[in-house]
C-alpha cells in the first residue's frame, strides 16, 4: 500500500504541474492578445474607472513581464479572474452563478450516455457480427460523426418551432412554477432537447469501448475455460467479462465528461441555456477576454481533475496497473 500512496502523491504533483501549465498557456494567450491591454481597458466604457484601476493593479499591467506572470498565476489559482467587460460582475461570480446550469446538462448527458453506451456495447459484443452488433456499430459510429449542436438545432426546429412541444429557449419558465413538483417537471421539460442532443453524440464512445473491450476479453483463455466448465454465456458475460470493462470505462467517463462539457458550450448557445457555454458565446461576441480566460481556465481545470480522479480510481480498480508507470 506504500506504493499506492506514492502513486497518488506523484499523480497529485503532476496534477499541480499540469494546472500551472494550463495557467501558463492561458497567460501566453493573454500576452498574445491584440493591442495594449491597459489602453484597451482605459477605452472600455463598459467598466467603471475604479474597476479599471483595480484590474490594472490586479494583472500588474504596468509591471514587467515576469511580475505579470507571477501575478497572473496567483490570480488564476485564487480564482481571481477579474471583471467581465459585458456583465461588469466579477467573472468568478458569473461563473459560480452559471455553473449549476451547465453541470445539470452535462451530468444528465454523461449519465445517460454511459448507461446507454454500456448497454448497447454489451448487446453488440454478445451478438458479434449479428444484426444487433451492426445496428449498434452504426449508431455508435454515427454518434462520433454527428455534430451535437446541429442535432440540437434540428430538434429545436422540429419539436420547438414546428410542433411546439418543447420550449425554444432557457432553462426554466418565467415566472417559474411555485410548487416543487411543477418546478422539477419544468426543469426536465427544458432539459429534454439539449440533453437529448448531447447524449446522441456522446454515447458512441462508451458503446464502442465497451464492445471492443468485451470482444477483447471474450477471446481470452479464461473465458474459454469458464465456458468449458459449463457456465452459461450470460454468466460468463455478466459475472466475469463485464468486470474487465470497468477500468477503461472509468477513463471513458473522464473523457465523456470533457467531451460533453465542451459540447455543451455550443449546445447551450443553440438553446439559450443560461450556463457557462452561453456565457462563452456571449463573451466571444463582445471580445470579453476576462470571461473567456476564466471559463477556459475552469473548463481545463475540470478536465484535468476528471483525468486525475480517473487515474487514481483506475489504479484502485485494476490491480494489474503497475504503480510505477
Amino acid at each position: 500500500m506504500a506504493s499506492m500512496r506514492a502513486y497518488i502523491a506523484r499523480k497529485s504533483a503532476y496534477l499541480f504541474l499540469t494546472l500551472v501549465a494550463v495557467a501558463t498557456v492561458n497567460f501566453l494567450i493573454f500576452v498574445l492578445m491584440p493591442g495594449d491591454p491597459v489602453a484597451i481597458l482605459a477605452q472600455s466604457t463598459r467598466l467603471r474607472p475604479d474597476q479599471i484601476e483595480r484590474l490594472i493593479e490586479m494583472y500588474g499591467l504596468r509591471k514587467p513581464l515576469w511580475e505579470k506572470y507571477v501575478l497572473y498565476l496567483r490570480n488564476m489559482f485564487t480564482f481571481n479572474f477579474g471583471y467581465s467587460y459585458y456583465t461588469k460582475n466579477s467573472v468568478w461570480n458569473d461563473i459560480v452563478g452559471r455553473l449549476p446550469e451547465t453541470l445539470m446538462l452535462v451530468g444528465a448527458a454523461v449519465f445517460l450516455s454511459l448507461v446507454i453506451g454500456v448497454a448497447l456495447g454489451v448487446l453488440a459484443a454478445e451478438k458479434r457480427g449479428g444484426s444487433a452488433d451492426k445496428v449498434v456499430l452504426f449508431f455508435g459510429l454515427s454518434g462520433y460523426a454527428l455534430p451535437g449542436w446541429w442535432i440540437g438545432l434540428i430538434l429545436l426546429t422540429v419539436f420547438g418551432y414546428g410542433l411546439g412541444l418543447f420550449p425554444l429557449r432557457g432553462s426554466i419558465t418565467i415566472p417559474p412554477p411555485t410548487d416543487t413538483v411543477g418546478l422539477a417537471l419544468d426543469r426536465l421539460w427544458h432539459m429534454f432537447l439539449p440533453v437529448t442532443a448531447l447524449t446522441i453524440t456522446s454515447f458512441g464512445g462508451p458503446a464502442l469501448v465497451t464492445r471492443n473491450q468485451l470482444l477483447d476479453v471474450l477471446t481470452e483463455d479464461f473465458i474459454v475455460v469458464l465456458r468449458a466448465k459449463g457456465l452459461s454465456r450470460r454468466e460468463v458475460m455478466y459475472k466475469h467479462a463485464l468486470k474487465n470493462v470497468l477500468p477503461p470505462l472509468i477513463t471513458i467517463t473522464a473523457i465523456s465528461f470533457a467531451f460533453v462539457l465542451v459540447g455543451a458550450i455550443i449546445t447551450e448557445g443553440i438553446f439559450s441555456w443560461p450556463g457557462l457555454g452561453l456565457y462563452i458565446v456571449q463573451a466571444i461576441g463582445v471580445s470579453d477576454y476576462p470571461a473567456l480566460q476564466g471559463v477556459f481556465f475552469l473548463v481545463a481545470t475540470a478536465v484535468v481533475l476528471a483525468n486525475y480522479i480517473s487515474d487514481i480510481l483506475y489504479a484502485v480498480v485494476d490491480p494489474r496497473i503497475q504503480l510505477i508507470g
Binding site: 504541474l17 491584440p34 456499430l137 459510429l141 460523426a145 446541429w150 477471446t219 465542451v262 473567456l292
Partner: protein, 454 residues
C-alpha cells in the same frame, strides 16, 4: 520490392472488401470526392461573391411541385425591351454600347405575372444625358402607380429602383429608396378582408424619358427577383445554397485532410521518439503530452483564432492539426514501448543497427497501420471542429464552409428553412461518417488486438 507491395496491397483489399462498414464508408467518400471534383460543373456559382442570383431567402425551385407559387427570376434586359421597339438605334463605341432614341421616349415593358407577389424588383435605367424620367406600372386591374419621377443630371444618370422586402412572416411589401412613395403598399396584390390576394395578369411597366436632346440609354433592366431558385434556394443575400453546399465539400475535405495529416505526422514522430528513448526524456515528453492533451482544444482554438483574426484555410487547418496529435502520440508510444523489448529489436541493436534505422525500419511499420485508422478518425474531428469555429463566426465570411452556412442561417432567422439547415448538417455528418467507417474498418483489420480468434 514493388511486387511484394502490390501483393500485400491486394491481400489487404481482399480483407477490406469483406468489411461492409468499410465499404460503405469508402462508397460514401467516393460520392463526396466525385461531388468536389465535378463542383465547377454542377455548382456554377461562387458561394460568397455571386449575390442577388434571385430574391433573398428564395425557396428551392422544385417546391412548386408541392404547391409553392413563388415566381422564378424574371429578368428583362435592354435588348429584349428595345430590340423590337421602333425608334431605338443600337450603337457600339469604345466606351461601350448604348441605344439612342429620339424624345419623347416611351418604353413599354409588359410582364406576364401569375405568382405570389415578388420580394424584390429592381428597375435600372442609365442614361448619359440630362433628362426627366418617370417610371410607372399599370396593374392587370387597371390601377396605375408611379414608381419614380425624377430629373436626372448627367452626373446622376443611374436609377436603381428597389422594391424590398417581402417579409417572410407578415407577407407585407415595403418599398425602399423611392423618391415618390406608392399610394398603396402592395403593388402585386389587393387587400380582401385583411389578407393580401395576388393579382395575376399582365403588368405594364412604362418608362418615360423626356429630354431636349437625343436620349442615350446605356442600361435598361427590369428585374423581378425570384422567390424560387435552383436546387436549394438562396440565402440572405440571394446566393445559391446548392453551390455553397457542393463547394463546401471541397473545403471540408481540404481542412480535414490537412489537419489530420499534420496531427498524425506530429503524433507518430513524437510518440515514436518518446517511447524509443525512454527514461526521463520519455517521462518529460509524456508529461508535456498529457498537459497538452488536458487542455480542451475547442475553447483554446476559439481564443487563438479570435486573437489571430481572419485565419485562412491553411492557418485554421494547421491550428486544428497542431492541437490534435496528442492521443496519437500516446498510441505510437505504447506500440513503441511494447516492441522495444522484443527480441528482434534487441537483435537488431546487438548487430549494430543505428537507432534511427531501428525506429524507421522496424518500429514505424508497426505504427503505420494504426496511424491509418487514426488519420481516418482525425479527419471528421477536424471537419467538425472547423464547423464549430465557423458556426461561432470566428472564420472569415468569405470562407463558405458548411458551418458558415449554418451560422448564416442561424444569424438571419433562416433556421426554419429546412432546405437551408438540413443539407449542411447531413453533409457534415455523412462526410464524417465516411471517414469514421473507413477508420473503423482499418482499425479492425490492422489492429492486431481486435482480430477475431481464428
Amino acid at each position: 520490392m514493388k511486387h511484394a507491395m502490390m501483393e500485400s496491397l491486394r491481400d489487404f483489399w481482399g480483407v477490406y472488401r469483406r468489411k461492409r462498414v468499410g465499404m460503405a464508408g469508402l462508397a460514401l467518400l467516393g460520392v463526396f470526392i466525385a461531388l468536389s471534383v465535378t463542383a465547377p460543373i454542377i455548382a456554377p456559382h461562387d458561394p460568397y461573391y455571386d449575390q442577388n442570383l434571385a430574391g433573398y431567402f428564395a425557396q428551392p425551385e422544385w417546391l412548386s411541385l408541392f404547391g409553392s407559387n413563388e415566381p422564378l427570376n424574371i429578368f428583362i434586359d435592354a435588348a429584349t425591351i428595345l430590340g423590337d421597339t421602333s425608334g431605338a438605334t443600337y450603337h457600339t463605341s469604345e466606351n461601350g454600347s448604348y441605344y439612342s432614341m429620339n424624345p419623347p421616349v416611351r418604353i413599354y415593358v409588359p410582364v406576364e405575372y401569375t405568382y405570389d407577389p415578388p420580394s424584390r424588383i429592381v428597375i435600372k435605367v442609365e442614361i448619359s444625358s440630362p433628362a426627366f424620367v418617370r417610371i410607372l406600372v399599370t396593374r392587370p386591374d387597371g390601377a396605375t402607380f408611379t414608381f419614380l419621377e425624377k430629373q436626372l443630371t448627367a452626373s446622376h444618370s443611374l436609377v436603381l429602383l428597389e422594391a424590398d422586402t417581402w417579409s417572410l412572416k407578415t407577407r407585407e411589401t415595403l418599398f425602399q429608396g423611392l423618391t415618390y412613395p406608392l399610394a398603396e403598399r402592395e403593388l402585386f396584390c389587393r387587400w380582401e378582408n385583411g389578407t393580401a390576394v395576388p393579382i395575376s395578369g399582365t403588368y405594364m411597366f412604362v418608362i418615360r424619358i423626356d429630354s431636349s436632346n437625343t436620349v442615350m440609354i446605356k442600361a435598361l433592366d427590369v428585374r423581378i427577383y425570384g422567390g424560387r431558385f435552383g436546387l436549394l434556394g438562396t440565402d440572405e443575400r440571394g446566393r445559391d445554397i446548392w453551390s455553397q453546399l457542393i463547394k463546401g465539400t471541397w473545403l471540408a475535405l481540404t481542412i480535414g485532410i490537412l489537419a489530420a495529416f499534420l496531427g498524425v505526422f506530429i503524433g507518430v514522430s513524437y510518440g515514436l521518439v518518446s517511447g524509443y528513448i525512454g527514461g526521463w526524456v520519455d517521462e518529460l515528453m509524456m508529461r508535456a503530452n498529457d498537459i497538452l492533451l488536458a487542455i480542451p482544444t475547442l475553447p483554446l482554438l476559439i481564443v487563438l483564432i479570435s486573437v489571430l483574426r481572419n485565419a485562412d484555410v491553411l492557418v485554421i487547418s494547421a491550428l486544428i492539426g497542431f492541437l490534435s496529435w496528442n492521443s496519437i502520440a500516446r498510441i505510437a508510444r505504447s506500440v513503441t514501448l511494447s516492441l522495444k523489448e522484443r527480441t528482434f529489436i534487441e537483435a537488431a541493436r546487438a548487430i549494430g543497427v543505428s537507432d534511427a534505422r531501428i525506429m524507421l525500419r522496424h518500429i514505424l511499420p508497426h505504427i503505420v497501420p494504426l496511424a491509418y485508422a487514426q488519420f481516418a478518425l482525425l479527419v471528421p474531428s477536424a471537419v467538425l471542429t472547423e464547423a464549430v469555429l465557423s458556426l461561432l463566426a470566428l472564420t472569415p465570411p468569405t470562407l463558405m464552409t458548411w458551418g458558415k452556412m449554418l451560422s448564416n442561417a442561424g444569424a438571419t432567422g433562416g433556421t426554419t428553412m429546412w432546405w437551408w439547415t438540413l443539407p449542411p448538417g447531413i453533409f457534415l455528418t455523412a462526410l464524417s461518417l465516411s471517414f469514421v467507417f473507413v477508420g473503423h474498418a482499418l482499425d479492425e483489420i490492422l489492429n492486431p488486438r481486435l482480430r477475431r480468434r481464428a
